[in-house]
Every structure is written in structure tokens, then in C-alpha cells.
């Protein structure tokens, strides 16, 4: 980790009570700042919050929002909620996986794209739904998936 990364990390620790109870919040803040949980950050968290590293690891792998690997610039999220599922989310995902050459949860080697799955995003009327970073795409057709992903 670079010096600026360390400063960012210190800021997160200073914004939260430095006790075991803050573990999840601190991890969420780190994830938000770095887009994943770097190993050194986890070690530092264990030390500062006074929690065994094993527990930090356990929490980092239990909750779906945490990632232990760096994520891509563009996070492509496919909704796997019930409504989207019955309207063919599987096929959207398949197109995406073959188009980008990675599986859900993985990141391309050039750190450009990550595929993630989410539950219902509340836009069921537009199912199947896909998000590229924060932008929603509704009624996605499987032949259009890659065009949407590669747009701008």
C-alpha cells in the first residue's frame, strides 16, 4: 500500500469507534474507498480494532458485498431477483460471461470489468435488469448485452 492509501485508511479508522463492534462498518468503508479489501488493510483492521485476523477474514468472506480481490473499473451487475430470473436473467448472464470471458464474481485481467450478481433492484417492471456501474438498463435483450457494456 502506498502512503496515500495509508492516509485514507487512517481516516477510516478515525471516523469509526476503534472497537470490535465497528468491524463491519470499517470493512464497508474500506471496500467503498478501495473497491475491494486489500490484505494489508485487513491486517491493519485486526490490529486497530483489536479483533483476531481470522475473525476479520471470516466477516470479509461472509458478507456478499465484500471482495478480497481488486475489482474492475466497470462493475456490471446482473439482477438475479425472482422477477428477472423468470424473465431470462440467466441468458443475459451467459452472454455477458462469454462476451467478457469471465464468470460472475470475477474481474477481467486488465481490471476493466467485473461481473456481479444482485438481488431485486426494485425495477422489476423493467426485468430483466442490468446495471453498468450506477446506470440501469431495463428489458435487456441478450443480443444487446455486450453493446450496452461497451458503451462509453
Amino acid at each position: 500500500m502506498t502512503q496515500t492509501d495509508m492516509t485514507k485508511l487512517d481516516k477510516i479508522f478515525n471516523n469509526n469507534p476503534q472497537s470490535p463492534g465497528s468491524l463491519i462498518t470499517v470493512l464497508q468503508d474500506i471496500q467503498r474507498e478501495f473497491r475491494y479489501l486489500p490484505r494489508e488493510a485487513l491486517e491493519k483492521t485486526a490490529e486497530i480494532l483489536n479483533v483476531p485476523l481470522s475473525k476479520v477474514y471470516s466477516a470479509s468472506t461472509f458478507y456478499a458485498v465484500f471482495s478480497l480481490k481488486p475489482r474492475g473499473e466497470k462493475i456490471v451487475r446482473v439482477c438475479k431477483g425472482t422477477a428477472c430470473h423468470i424473465k431470462g436473467a440467466d441468458i443475459i448472464l451467459e452472454q455477458l460471461e462469454s462476451g467478457l470471458g469471465i464468470k460472475a464474481g470475477e474481474t477481467t485481467k486488465d481490471l476493466k470489468y467485473t461481473i456481479e450478481l444482485v438481488n431485486c433492484v426494485g425495477a422489476c417492471a423493467l426485468a430483466p435488469v442490468m446495471l453498468v456501474n450506477e446506470k440501469y438498463y431495463g428489458n435487456v435483450r441478450c443480443d444487446r448485452v455486450m453493446k450496452l457494456v461497451e458503451k462509453d
Partner: protein, 620 residues
């Protein structure tokens, strides 16, 4: 203004109402999740952009505002003009200028944006006022009363709508015991899925000797097909806070949390804004409304784990640990967060409380059925025309919700089943559509009302694949602490997959039934105990479909890919649509000539079937 005495609230409310009443016309732009996905934030910006340059009588900038989900998401993005209730559907940024010039300036309607209801003979007629649209007409809104009506970021909107008057009534004229009695008498049962009587929960908590008690709100909304709680948190956050504060007064709590899943960032923002402004105006913190009551609320963000919606897991997660449930020899109302007595209620439950206090327990109990009083919100989705947020009195039939409000199956296909209760619930077939929707009836029929997800399925939905989908969700979400759930659901999912591939035998099905029983009785928490439900209920009502997969190696719905082939029949007009839609270029053919699918390339995605307007694609 800080409300440091109960009397001050009435004066402030008058002021807020006067201010709203002075706005002759109001423009409400829906910024609920559905409309937002359709770009409604840009619509709101456009209104502000144009109106900041152009003065129109009767329309102030302040009167153009955002709201939470108005309900009819299928017609979104929505723009509503009050007081007439003019309902503009599928609005685009480009329409804004026209709405301003035609409706706001001239007082005329933009015909093309009006909602069109289908007549019996296939023609349409336009409906101007949304109250007259069947989707809204049959609803009764209690927990959703303000969602879609007020700007969630303006506490003044909530106050004008009667907000915090229930709290004022509680603090000025009721003892804590009287509050508990009212809630008990109202018959309110928890809206999070369990249906536990809320009054009894509060009474138990209040009775236990303890220096500290907690009041928590469950905003985890783990059902992967539901968004009611989200819409309340985003669209009317103060109603949740008011319910929680009343509860804190009743049970004697000073501290509470709202547990919101990380995937709902806007809910977190809107709740935090609401908490801050409630505190600033004297509804939270020390000496609430100038009384002795002290109570404050913090937001705890969840990490996206279904099991964290379970009470004991949720409390562990709030305490900063891994959210594994514990065996409940002692209930969490006795020993909850940090081992202290804790009331945990669902978002919708809390949002209902102020109305019960204001209108009275008898009024609430007169709505719904004897054992399930009041109303229930549902998120209606799937293969149904009118997707959206719906709130109805308990006891109405599934048919009323799906057909009268929901408009029936999409594209007028054949209705097949309705799934309620999410991964813990089940699927009910057509002949159960006349069952009244309440806690006990749906459970008896092998499903459950659940927290409010309601997914409609048509003849193109494979019930085995649906069971497999939910089992897959549960396998992923099982915390892994107990064996029956961790290993049992895993095996159940594996066997279900085997069926969808046409490789299973009848012995496998028997094994699945036995396994389901073991998982149900031996699992530690509700996730495992109800985990086999999606399988058990689909088998109960759709055994034929399972047998078709097992004996005939066929998927009647045409979904399970190992068991189907796509072919083009002679209805084909040669329109090229399927060729353009095929993602793998498996279809060849020329204009006005019969097209052909290359079976070696076909991935059976069904795109050609979806785009064909001539019923020329056969699935066998």
C-alpha cells in the same frame, strides 16, 4: 423550528399546510427505483431547468418535487399533476416541455401520455385521474399512505400530511401500557413474514427487568423479488421513525438501530436525512417534544446476506459480528442485541403504527380478517401486466390482486402460478386463486404470505426450474452453521438440477421428499426450516411437470435447455426478426423465405421465440 412542547406541533403543521396549499398546482415526479431506472431524475432536472427560466402562474419551483415509488411502476416514469391527479405515463425528458406548455400553462391534457385502459373489445380509453385506474381503485393504502405523495427529504411534507401527530397523541395522552394495549387490540401482526402479534412482542419486552432495552427495525428485505420495504424507507422514512419512537416510549428504550442492506444506498441516505432532521426538530434525541422521552436511532448497514434478516443473526450483525443465527431457547425479545431485551419489527410494521394510534385499534381491526387485521403491501412482479407496489386489505383474494389490480398475465398468456413468501414461500396454482390472502390461509395451502414479494408466472415458466432457482439462492445464503441446512439444501439443489437436465429417476424424487422433511425439522433457524418449501409446494401442485422431466425427459414450459429444441415452422413469414435477435448467429434465411435454426449452434436462449410475431417458433 424545534418542537420543544407538544402544543407547538399543531401550529407548525398549520404553517406547513398553508405553505403547501398556497401551491395551486403541484408536479410530482416519481423517483422510486423503477422510474429512476427509466431516467426520471433527468425529468425532474428538466422541469427545474425550464421553470427556473420561465415564470408560470400557479406553479412555483418548490411545487415541482420528487417522490418515492408511486406504485404503478409498469407505467413509469410517472409524472403526476395535483390537485387533479393527472397521471402521465412513460414520460421522457423530451416530453417535459410539452407538459409545461400544455398542461401547466394552458390547462389542457397531453393525450398521448395518459394511461390507457383496455376495453373488452380490444379498443382503449384514456383515464385522466389516477384514482380511477383499476390498479389504484382497489387498493387501500396504510403503510404506503405517503409513499409517492410526499418528498421524503422534506420533513415539512410529512408534517403537513399529519406526521408526528400520533407521537404527540401518545406523549400527551397515553401511558406506555395504553400504547401496548392499543397495538394488541388492533390485532397487528408483524409484516416481516413471521406474523407474530406485535402488541404481545412489545408487552413481553416492556415487562422484563433491565436497565437497557433496544428497539430495532428490520430493513434487510432479503426476499430477492421484493421491494416494498425499500420503497417505504426511500419514500416515507419519517413514518418508520415515528413508529419506532412510539415503540420506544411503550417499552422504555433509549436507543435503536435501523438495519438496512448495503444494496439500498438511497434508502440509507434518505433515512439518514430523516433522522437528522427529526433530531433537529426535536422528535429524536434528548427530551423528545419537550417531554422526558429520550431515544435515538442509528443506521446499521448490512452486508448483503439473506440470513441477516433473521432476528438473532441481525442482532449479531448490528453488533459488528458475522451474522450467524443462534438456537432460540431464549427469544431475542428477552435476550437480543448485546443480550438486552430487544423489540425487532419490520419496516412496514413500524410504518403502520402511527396510523393505528391516530385512527384507533378498533378502526384498524375492522379492516382485513379476524385473525389478520389491516392491510398488507406487496410488490407485484414477474409475468404480470401491472408490475408495481400494491397495498390491499387482508382477506382479498389472490385473483383480485393478480387480475383486477395486476391486469392478469403479461401478453395475455395463460396464468400458471403465483409465488409468495420468497425463498421461504411457495407457489400456488390457478385453482387456489380464490383463497383470501392472510397469514394463516396461505400457510395452510403450502405457501406463505411472507414479507410481500408476489411473483406471477405463466405457462412459459418451468416450476422445476423455479424450485431450483430458490434452492440455489438458499444454498448460497445458508450461513453454514448447521448441517441439515448447509448440506441438505446443497443436495436438494443438486438433485433438482439433475431433474432439469433430464437425468433424474423417481427414486431421486423420493429421496428429495425425505430429505426435505429432515431439513425442515432439524435446521437451526427459519432459513433451513422453510428452505425446502419452494420444492415441496411446487411438487405438491405441479407433480405432472416434475414427472414430465423425469419420465418423458421433457420440459413442458420449454425452459430447461437440455430437454428442448427450437424449430421454425411454416408460419414463418421470413421477416428476419429472429435472425437479428439471435446472439449466436444460429439462424439463417432470406427475406420472405423460411428461416432455419442450426441446432449445433443454438444455445436455446429463446430470443427467437420472444421476438417472433407469427408463432413460428416451436419449442419441443
Amino acid at each position: 423550528m424545534r418542537i420543544d412542547s407538544i402544543d407547538k406541533l399543531a401550529a407548525w403543521r398549520d404553517e406547513c399546510r398553508k405553505r403547501l396549499d398556497s401551491q395551486k398546482k403541484k408536479v410530482l415526479v416519481c423517483l422510486g427505483p423503477g422510474c429512476l431506472a427509466g431516467g426520471s431524475d433527468k425529468i425532474l432536472e428538466e422541469f427545474h431547468e425550464i421553470l427556473s427560466k420561465k415564470k408560470i402562474t400557479d406553479v412555483t419551483l418548490e411545487a415541482v418535487k420528487k417522490t418515492g415509488c408511486h406504485g404503478f411502476c409498469a407505467q413509469g416514469p410517472l409524472v403526476i399533476i395535483e390537485p387533479e391527479g393527472i397521471f402521465y405515463t412513460k414520460v421522457k425528458k423530451a416530453h417535459v416541455k410539452e407538459i409545461i406548455e400544455t398542461t401547466l400553462e394552458k390547462g389542457e391534457l397531453v393525450e398521448k401520455l395518459l394511461y390507457k385502459e383496455r376495453n373488452g373489445d380490444g379498443t382503449d380509453h384514456a383515464i385522466v385521474d389516477y384514482h380511477d385506474i383499476p390498479f389504484y381503485k382497489y387498493q387501500k393504502r396504510i403503510s404506503l399512505r405517503n409513499v409517492g405523495q410526499i418528498d421524503p427529504d422534506r420533513i415539512t411534507d410529512y408534517i403537513a400530511a399529519g406526521g408526528y401527530s400520533a407521537l404527540a397523541k401518545t406523549l400527551s395522552s397515553m401511558t406506555p401500557q395504553e400504547v401496548i394495549d392499543q397495538i394488541t387490540k388492533s390485532g397487528l401482526r408483524g409484516r416481516g413474514g413471521g406474523g407474530f402479534p406485535t402488541g404481545r412482542k412489545w408487552a413481553t419486552c416492556a415487562k422484563i427487568e433491565s436497565d437497557i432495552r433496544y428497539v430495532l427495525c428490520n430493513g434487510d428485505e432479503g426476499d430477492p423479488g421484493a421491494f416494498m420495504d425499500r420503497c417505504i424507507m426511500e419514500g416515507d422514512p419519517h413514518s418508520i421513525l415515528e413508529g419506532m419512537i412510539i415503540c420506544a416510549y411503550a417499552v422504555g428504550s433509549r436507543e435503536g438501530y435501523i438495519y438496512v442492506r448495503e444494496e439500498y444506498p438511497l434508502a440509507v441516505i434518505n433515512l439518514q436525512n430523516a433522522i437528522d432532521s427529526a433530531r433537529e426538530h426535536g422528535f429524536l434525541g434528548e427530551n423528545i417534544m419537550g417531554t422526558d422521552l429520550c431515544y435515538d436511532i442509528k443506521i446499521a448497514r448490512g452486508g448483503g446476506a439473506f440470513v441477516c434478516g433473521e432476528s438473532s443473526a441481525l442482532m449479531k450483525s448490528v453488533a459488528g459480528e458475522v451474522g450467524e443465527p443462534r438456537a432460540k431457547y431464549v427469544r431475542s425479545v428477552v435476550k437480543g442485541l448485546h443480550d438486552k431485551p430487544t423489540v425487532l419489527n419490520n419496516v412496514e410494521t413500524f410504518a403502520t403504527i402511527p396510523v393505528i394510534i391516530n385512527e384507533g385499534a378498533d378502526w384498524f381491526a375492522s379492516i382485513g380478517t379476524e385473525k389478520s387485521t389491516g392491510t398488507k403491501a406487496f410488490s407485484l412482479a414477474g409475468k404480470v401486466k401491472n408490475t408495481g407496489l400494491v397495498e390491499v386489505p387482508m382477506g382479498v383474494t389472490l385473483r383480485k390482486i393478480i387480475f383486477d389490480i395486476g391486469g392478469g398475465a403479461l401478453k395475455d398468456r395463460k396464468f400458471k402460478a403465483v409465488q409468495t413468501g420468497g425463498p421461504s414461500g411457495g407457489c400456488l396454482p390457478e385453482d387456489k386463486l380464490d383463497l383470501p390472502v392472510d397469514f394463516d390461509t396461505l400457510t395452510k395451502a403450502g405457501s406463505m404470505m411472507g414479507s410481500g414479494g408476489m411473483i406471477v408466472m405463466d405457462d412459459r415458466t418451468c416450476m422445476v426450474a423455479v424450485a431450483r432457482y430458490f434452492l440455489g439462492v438458499l444454498v448460497k445464503e445458508s450461513c453454514g452453521k448447521c448441517v441439515p441446512c448447509r448440506e441438505g439444501l446443497y443436495q436438494l439443489h443438486k438433485l433438482c438440477t439433475k431433474i432439469t437436465k433430464g437425468k433424474a429417476t423417481e427414486d431421486d424424487l423420493n429421496l428429495m421428499e425425505n430429505l426435505s422433511r429432515v431439513i425442515s425439522v432439524a435446521s437451526l433457524c427459519g432459513l433451513g426450516q422453510s428452505g425446502p418449501n419452494p420444492f415441496v409446494s411446487t411438487l405438491r401442485y405441479f407433480r405432472d411437470e416434475y414427472m414430465a422431466h423425469i419420465r418423458d425427459k421433457k420440459c413442458p414450459a420449454g425452459v430447461c435447455r437440455e430437454l428442448i429444441t427450437f424449430n421454425i415452422n411454416d408460419q414463418c413469414t421470413g421477416c428476419l426478426a429472429c435472425i437479428a435477435a439471435c446472439p449466436v448467429e444460429a439462424i439463417t434465411g432470406e427475406k420472405k423465405k423460411l428461416h432455419v435454426i442450426n441446432q449445433d449452434l443454438c444455445t436455446k436462449c429463446g430470443s427467437c421465440y420472444e421476438v417472433c410475431n407469427f408463432d413460428a417458433v416451436d419449442i419441443k
